[in-house]
């Protein structure tokens, strides 16, 4: 007997077992790996090109992972304009927490397409980012909930909600990198 209270819908893969699904899964994974690589390389201008002009980038606080930026305090709620500002800031030598840039390595796994509608896809994946700076190693571990969109044949990110599993930014002091 199926236990009650388990929400079935979010666990659906959204993808039928077909060859097309394999290609789509591959395309999604390549986009996520590319984003991780561009961020690890601090190639932030190229990173921005992966996003649509109507993009949102949200990171809820550690104590309220379900936080809604319309009513709750979150860590980050950027539209594309502020994402650009974030990039300009991080490229400046006056972003003191990231000067010099920390070394990071991002690991993306457990990638699942959970829904498809029109030219848009919902994707979830696990992520771990190791950040090394000033003698400290600090891991940012969590989940991305993404909405991707096919634009002129390319897959782009139009929404990224990056949810931290950390209880607090205990060893990190800040969220000074793009998570």
């Amino acid at each position: 007997m199926v236990a009650q209270n388990i929400p079935v819908e979010p666990y659906a893969t959204g993808l039928p077992a077909t060859a097309e699904s394999l290609l789509l899964q591959h395309e999604v994974e390549q986009l996520l790996y590319l984003e991780a690589r561009l961020l690890d390389d601090w190639n932030l201008d190229a990173w921005l090109t992966l996003y649509t002009p109507d993009a949102r980038y949200i990171v809820p606080t550690t104590d309220l992972p379900e936080g809604d930026p319309a009513s709750d305090l979150v860590f980050i709620d950027d539209d594309y304009r502020r994402m650009q500002g974030r990039v300009v800031r991080l490229q400046s030598r006056h972003a003191h927490r990231e000067y010099p840039w920390s070394r990071t390595r991002r690991f993306i796994s457990n990638v699942m397409v959970t829904a498809q509608e029109g030219n848009e896809l919902d994707v979830t994946c696990s992520v771990a980012v190791w950040r090394y700076q000033a003698g400290e190693a600090s891991p940012y571990v969590g989940r991305y909930d993404l909405r991707l969109r096919h634009v002129d044949g390319d897959l782009r990110i139009c929404r990224k909600r990056a949810v931290l599993d950390l209880e607090e930014l205990s060893n990190h002091g800040a969220l000074s990198i793009i998570f």
Binding site: V59, P60, T61, T62, D63, L64, G67, P69, A70, S71, D72, L73, V74, F75, I76, D77, R81, R82, G85, R86, V88, R89, S92, H94, A95, H96, R97, E98, A134, E167, E168, L169, S170, N171, H172, G173, A174, L175, S176
Partner: protein, 445 residues
Amino acid sequence: MDLENLVYDRPDLGKFQVHRSSMTSPDIYELERRRIFDRCWLYLGHESEVPNPGDYARRVVAERALFFARDRHGELRVFHNTCPHRGALICRTDHGNAQVLQCFYHAWSFNTSGELIGMPDIEGYGPDFDRADFSLRSPRYESYQGFIFVCFDPDGGSLRDYLAGAAEYLDLVADQAPEGMKVIPGSNRYTIKANWKLLAENSIDGYHALPTHQTYFDYMASEAGSDIPAINRRHGFGRALGNGHGVMENDAIYGRPIAMWHPYFGEEAREEINGIKDELIGRHGHTKALRMCEKSRNMVIFPNLVINDIMAVTIRVFQPTGPDSMDVTAWQMVPAGETGSRLNRRLDSFLTFLGPGGFATPDDTEALESCQQGFRSGGVEWSDLSRGFHRDPRGNDELQMRSFWRRWQSLVAERPHVEQFERGLTPGEIPNVQPSPELTVAADD
């Protein structure tokens, strides 16, 4: 260790310095725990976090686990978070609502007034067993304008006396909305590997704003045409508020969601913001309303509470966890009835500057950790806080920091405290308020 002389305070020389051992010494840290954190009123939480009967929230204050709750009669209660039976934590989630709080260890149950209302197998206790002996214990607690404080010194004075001139500044926050202010869900929780007093200093340090936060001001200038040179022409002052509390009150150099328009908010917001200002003037009179709307205030309530009424309203509290580390928690306050475009503007305004993901706070964290690493370098014994000692205090002078340190010195050395307000206003004095200039680049017309 010469506890009497950790602060070098010489008005005759215009010189004020603090010995760096105060930031690094484990012995001084232990003394602070007993002589400061076991004696002062300490911020616990805000009443708006527990609006309904049965609501509770837990905290750690000065390394002690506590929780507060609204009991079934609507009374605010504060408890030590420990079972009077054998010690386990009673409240094991950050917040929630319950009629009964049960210790999981032996299943003793308490109501939200703290009374022991049941346990398994009560027959195992003899005829002299009295449930009243096993109520949850409370520290002393009082609240002012909804801000709840605790004091672990049974002989200390009242909260209102302790707050001294800081009470007026809490009023300036609480009175911004007729329906009151509330803390919204979500908090910033982070650790800074630096002495807690560095964050007290930083929170009322106007001098660091432009150099440390240049990327923030550059962003605001590029987005909205803020006039950065105008920031240096702003007017303001620092003042001591008594008992070590201090504030800097300045012309706002950013928009204030309560009611100071900035190009960043967009032209369409101007009318709504002016409407809020008119409403506040009608309710509070011109002087108080102008301070609420157009002046920013960064306040430290000694020892570890910061109320920033700046581009957003924040409550920030830091708990020392050693001579070189602290846990920081910050919340955001909003007018209880605020919705729609007003609330959106306010939430957005917070995030641009504040918080671990903002464009400024990470660099404060970096500065504090950098200082702590610098202290370990040695070679320099004293840090300097003399700025503005010789003149009427300006907003980017250091009177408000000196007032913090004077109180700290008195408490650590266990000597009577003598209030000094230098050439600043004394508590209760109302500043002469002029409208703040708009921070806009002149339009090309």
